[in-house]
């Protein structure tokens, strides 16, 4: 009941004219960045983070969160109408969504995606309301060893569940940790890896790294493709679903939402894995699995419900523990820090107005997105006809100006450019970028809690298995490292069996 009272206060915070305007702006920007191929929600959030410095923290966080879940809605447009996923979590939507659009039912695919996203998103936010407070209270029992292992789990799980090569993902995480070492040592206060450069004494900020790795890199990669998009046209009257389409999709929304919620809550998994798992699950449950890949509307419903549910569920570890579950929540966590708010289990009590305002804003934002995506979907679809090349320069210069504005130092702009090139190479070499960003965000917690643990135990590693909670977390870290090895062995066995037959 206390949660509901606090949620009521959260609604009072969200319903101020300023906050409502910025929630709307956030979901609108999220819708647009989600629809733009190459720019995902994490990139959009990183690029616009400097623009929030003039806002009250609660308004800024509401707007950035709006970009995060708005991106899940927007990604559907390009997937269905152009067969080019607007962001990675919409890859599976394109498989069936585009086939449905070619059959003349693009409106139905967009409708079911919006309805599924809305229902699963709202259900996930309801779960956030009831799961986050007890988890946060439970986390108050955590000591330095648990925090070290939790941060380590956040990094290793991202690598393990990332989908790409686990070795490459872990290499990216190590790079993120190396970057975090630069600056002044947090305990001894002496320069470390600064190589005599005074500007490096304060370390390398998260913001220019995120702007470079996500924003600049993605725009550079998208400029390789010079052709303009040719979306399939859709009209308002095409948005109505038939009774059969609704009957086929309703249970897919439930299953997709559940899969998305549980995957989203796991550190490192995120909306992309959620939508893939939901698609596979739905195909297994379907009475006619042969339709999948040829225009199954339940496939679209499951994927879109899952990615939006996951996007909201990822906020649970971020709000309760201060551990981001995805690249987007890593940016959101960094935004909290940049606005002077300390994340962690005390956040729920110390910043109750912000947390509950944020949760309430998610309900409001999802309603706004439903309106944007049902009657206004054809209008947004027409935006896809604006050639991307006219938007790309604007994205680049606003992000660089934002980076400069954050420190009033061109060194920050240079850091953006260096990481922009690095990010472009990572895209080309198929090295995931999320582990780098997550490692960079989690590194201070990881190092400080590791050193505190070893100080408490006089250097004994036994402290990590003494308490049941830390022992369980250690097991999870080991499992997250062993899982990809088992997966790789199984893949090679299958490959060799295929060759012999």
């Amino acid at each position: 009941m206390e949660s509901l009272e606090l949620l009521g206060q959260g609604f009072a915070t969200a319903f101020t004219p300023l906050n409502l305007s910025f929630i709307f702006l956030g979901v609108l920007i999220g819708q647009i960045v989600g629809a733009l191929p190459g720019i995902g929600p994490a990139a959009g959030m990183a690029l616009l983070l400097p623009l929030t410095f003039g806002l009250p923290p609660v308004t800024a966080i509401m707007m950035l969160a709006g970009i995060m879940y708005g991106g899940q809605y927007g990604g559907t447009l390009t997937s269905v109408l152009v067969n080019v996923p607007g962001e990675s979590a919409s890859v599976m939507t394109a498989v069936d969504g585009y086939q449905i659009a070619r059959q003349g039912r693009a409106g139905a695919a967009l409708s079911i995606a919006a309805i599924g996203s809305f229902l699963a998103g709202v259900a996930a936010v309801v779960s956030v309301v009831f799961v986050t407070p007890p988890l946060s209270e439970f986390a108050l029992q955590f000591n330095a060893p648990e925090y070290f292992l939790l941060a380590a789990l956040g990094i290793t799980a991202t690598a393990s569940l990332g989908g790409s090569s686990a070795v490459k993902a872990l290499l990216a995480a190590v790079l993120g940790l190396f970057i975090s070492l630069v600056g002044t040592d947090p305990a001894a206060g002496i320069p470390r890896l600064t190589f005599g450069q005074v500007k490096l004494l304060e370390g390398i900020d998260f913001l220019p790294v995120a702007i470079g790795i996500f924003g600049i890199a993605e725009v550079l990669a998208s400029l390789e493709r010079a052709h303009d998009l040719q979306p399939i046209r859709t009209r308002l009257r095409d948005m109505w679903l038939t009774a059969q389409e609704w009957a086929e999709s309703r249970m897919a929304i439930v299953r997709g939402g559940l899969v998305g919620f549980f995957v989203g809550i796991m550190p490192g998994a995120g909306p992309t894995i959620a939508s893939m798992m939901a698609y596979v699950t739905e195909k297994r449950f379907s009475r006619r699995p042969e339709r999948f890949g040829k225009g199954a509307i339940d496939g679209v419903a499951a994927c879109e419900s899952a990615n939006n549910a996951a996007s909201h569920a990822a906020c649970i570890p971020m709000l309760a523990l201060g551990i981001p579950g995805s690249a987007s929540t890593a940016v959101l966590l960094a935004a909290l820090i940049l606005h002077g708010i300390r994340p962690g289990p005390m956040l729920m009590t110390e910043q109750a107005s912000l947390v509950w305002g944020l949760i309430a804003s998610m309900f409001v934002g999802n309603i706004m997105l439903l309106v944007i995506n049902l009657p206004l979907a054809p209008m947004f679809a027409s935006l896809l006809r604006v050639p991307y090349v006219y938007l790309a320069p604007g994205i680049l210069v606003i992000s660089l100006t934002g980076a400069y504005a954050s420190t009033l130092d061109f060194a920050t702009v240079w850091i953006c450019l260096v990481f922009g090139v690095l990010g472009w190479f990572m895209i080309k070499l198929d090295v995931p970028r999320a582990p780098l960003v997550l490692a960079l965000v989690l590194a201070p917690l990881l190092e400080v809690s590791l050193r505190q643990s070893l100080l408490l135990s006089y250097g004994s590693l036994g402290i990590f298995i003494e308490r049941p909670l830390s022992a369980i977390l250690l097991c999870l870290v080991v499992v997250s490292l062993v899982l990809p090895v088992i997966g790789e062995i199984r893949r090679r066995v299958r490959l060799s069996q295929t060759r012999t037959t």
Binding site: G54, A226, K428
Partner: protein, 149 residues
């Protein structure tokens, strides 16, 4: 041998060596607590092990390797990046807003070969947006040039 497959592992290997050199003079352990070099040493060790795994993975990989852009696409990327470098280089002299507008003109007209009129419109809208957001709204003192902005 595909260089691209080996690049991530070799890069981390080189970076591990650099980190090792950088923290060589720092204490691994100080008194009863880990010193400033404690985590770096362990990360270097992890980096070395992962680099070896990465090289082994690249050697046994049967996939097609990185998909590099063709020549025109690569020219677009390199020219865009070269243009971006002019922003921190020339802004202190010419002012940030004029340099940004010059960059967009260069990118749209010279690199992406777009028609002049929509390009000029894009330059005007973006330049105006940057001035409105950063100077007028956020009150950021962007470097001004001879034109006064």
């Amino acid at each position: 041998m595909r260089i691209g497959d080996y690049a991530p592992a070799v890069f981390i290997l080189a970076l591990s060596a650099l980190v090792l050199v950088g923290v060589w003079d720092l204490a691994y352990w100080s008194g009863t607590a880990p010193g400033p070099a404690f985590l770096p040493y362990w990360l270097v060790a992890v980096g070395l092990v992962l680099s070896i795994f990465g090289i082994a993975e690249a050697r046994s990989s049967r996939e097609n390797g990185p998909l590099w852009p063709n020549r025109p696409a690569l020219v677009r990327v390199v020219a865009t990046f070269a243009g971006l470098i002019t922003i921190p280089t020339l802004s202190p002299v010419l002012g940030m807003v004029p340099v940004v507008m010059l960059f967009i003109t260069f990118l749209l007209v010279a690199v992406l070969r777009r028609p002049l009129l929509p390009s000029i419109l894009t330059v005007a809208v973006t330049g105006g947006a940057i001035y409105t957001i950063f100077v007028w709204w956020l009150g950021v003192a962007l470097p001004a040039g001879p034109l006064g902005f």
